[in-house]
């Protein structure tokens, strides 16, 4: 339950974010796959991680939009649902469509999202106008994040190899939950009446870096030490940069960042 959720207005347009998120995500996935295939190494897996970060920013913005409405069950539920749909859709795409798998999976995830949003509005009668659109973005973001982080772990898109590298090892657990938290944490951590879009999205970049790092740990035994260390180093650099930027925005927005001190006069 959140009291006075909402937040400030959006400076960055949602269409632009969705475009960058989906485009960046798909580009990252395919670039990682193709470059790894051509060079026969695992050094380019980090590109998929960058794609995941793009999608995480898009997902975090979608969470931000829907949580301005009282959805009754808090922030985490909607993200877990989106990841659940994204997971099934993503793996369906990978299993049946071969090289076109990621695109098919993402499209189906967005379809699931739109559909479940429609059910929520039409049958459950939640009457949240943005529900369809937000769940569509969230489902899509969830699928991109799952596929991209899985590619970070396995290094390419082939279904059999992904099954061995991601599922049989159990790394799917961290792909799922690190991706989910990366999408949920930004808005959840910045919730409050003075939330600002840029701060939330910068935070999304930093949680995206964390998710990429987590997937990088798994890739240590699947794509090899070289590629994994490269992924982890780039993830750590992104995280550090985003974290410092975030701290700057915290200083900009807050009532005061103080070393220590007594309580201020509260209330409006």
């Amino acid at each position: 339950m959140s009291v006075a959720a909402g937040g400030g207005e959006s400076k960055i347009d949602k269409t632009k974010l969705t475009m960058y998120g989906l485009g960046g995500g798909i580009l990252g996935i395919y670039l990682a796959h193709v470059l790894n295939m051509i060079t026969g190494t695992g050094y380019f897996s980090f590109l998929a991680g960058l794609g995941a970060i793009a999608a995480i920013v898009m997902g975090a913005d979608a969470v931000r939009r829907v949580c301005a409405y009282g959805i009754g069950t808090g922030v985490p539920s909607i993200g877990m649902m989106a990841m659940g749909m994204g997971l099934v859709a993503a793996w369906f795409g990978l299993a049946v469509a071969g090289i076109a798998g990621p695109i098919i999976g993402i499209a189906i995830a967005m379809g699931f999202g739109y559909f479940v949003g429609m059910l929520a509005n039409k049958i459950i009668k939640m009457n949240i106008p943005v529900m369809e659109e937000v769940l569509m973005s969230l489902g899509g973001a969830g699928a991109v994040v799952i596929i991209a982080l899985s590619v970070v772990v396995s290094g390419q898109i082939g279904y059999e190899d992904m099954l061995n590298d991601v599922v049989l090892t159990g790394f799917i657990a961290v792909v799922f939950i690190a991706g989910a938290l990366a999408i949920l944490q930004p808005f959840n951590a910045n919730l409050g009446p003075d939330e600002t879009q840029d701060r939330t999205l910068v935070h999304a970049v930093s949680t995206g870096g964390l998710a990429m790092f987590a997937a990088g740990i798994g890739s240590l035994i699947t794509v090899g030490v070289g590629g994994a260390v490269l992924t982890m180093l780039i993830a750590a650099a992104i995280w550090l940069k985003a974290f410092l930027w975030y701290f700057k925005l915290v200083k900009r927005d807050s009532a005061g960042v103080v070393g220590t001190g007594l309580l201020a006069e509260g209330g409006l």
Partner: protein, 303 residues
Amino acid sequence: MDMVSMGLLAAMGALATIAGASEDLESDVGSQSNPNSQVQLAAQVGHTHRIYNKAISGEPPSNALYAALAAVTASVLMSDAYGMNAFFSIAVGSLVAAVFNGILSMTSYMGRNTSQARFNQYVYLDVLRSHTTTIMAHAYITAFCVVAISYIMTAPWLPIQHPFPLPVIAFTWGIALGAIGSSTGDVHYGAEREFQQYPFGAGLNAANSGDIVTKGEAGLRSSIDNAWFCAKFGGPVTGLAFGLIVFLDNWRTTIFDPATQGWYAIATGVLIVVLLNVYNRILEVRSKKRYGPYPEYAGDIKA
């Protein structure tokens, strides 16, 4: 049933008890989960505070992340490529999970307090420095115990052979542990510790929402004081809850071999459930008798 299985089962129960207790205290120091709504409200109704304010997407997902991450790191280190000893692998994995926990806690504290700028809620860096390490320490213990339980359930050289891979089972227990922690121990923090200035024996009157205790015995109340209080009751019972669940659930399949005596295992489970239902009824009757009706009640229905 052999002695080894029984011993391992006891170890799992003990590990689960510790995990439950540390999980609850971790969420109390950080003020995570539902009681946090009051901390969030406090500044809005004029009570600025120095309570830690973190929210990492609800307890089940966050604990699932710590457990899964620790398990993934551990299984990487344990694999043939690195061949590290299981004990040390789990320890290193839990360290990674604790670092993630610390990062997410810090950004939540900064973000949530910043988003209340209009209520003059400051971001106190000394709170951040002193509390984050405490939170991380508790998260470390939780992650270690959960992954150890999962390892006992999956290790190829031990009697229980669960089909799920180690990270998946750790993830699942993480979700369950988070759900338990937020359902049990947090109530002690939310209903009692946050509102200690009101008389014992009543829930939070809606009129007093947001009026949390912000001053301590000397100086201002810190969240570490809250963990000190909750460690006396809320934490241990949460541990007992998770310990009982892990123990009872696995006890059924340890004394009865699921392959040949599956129905006995299920019947035992049903018996446990029936006994728990009866016990709850006894608890309810005894508490109502002991406490009696509220004196403020003015309706017609007789107690």
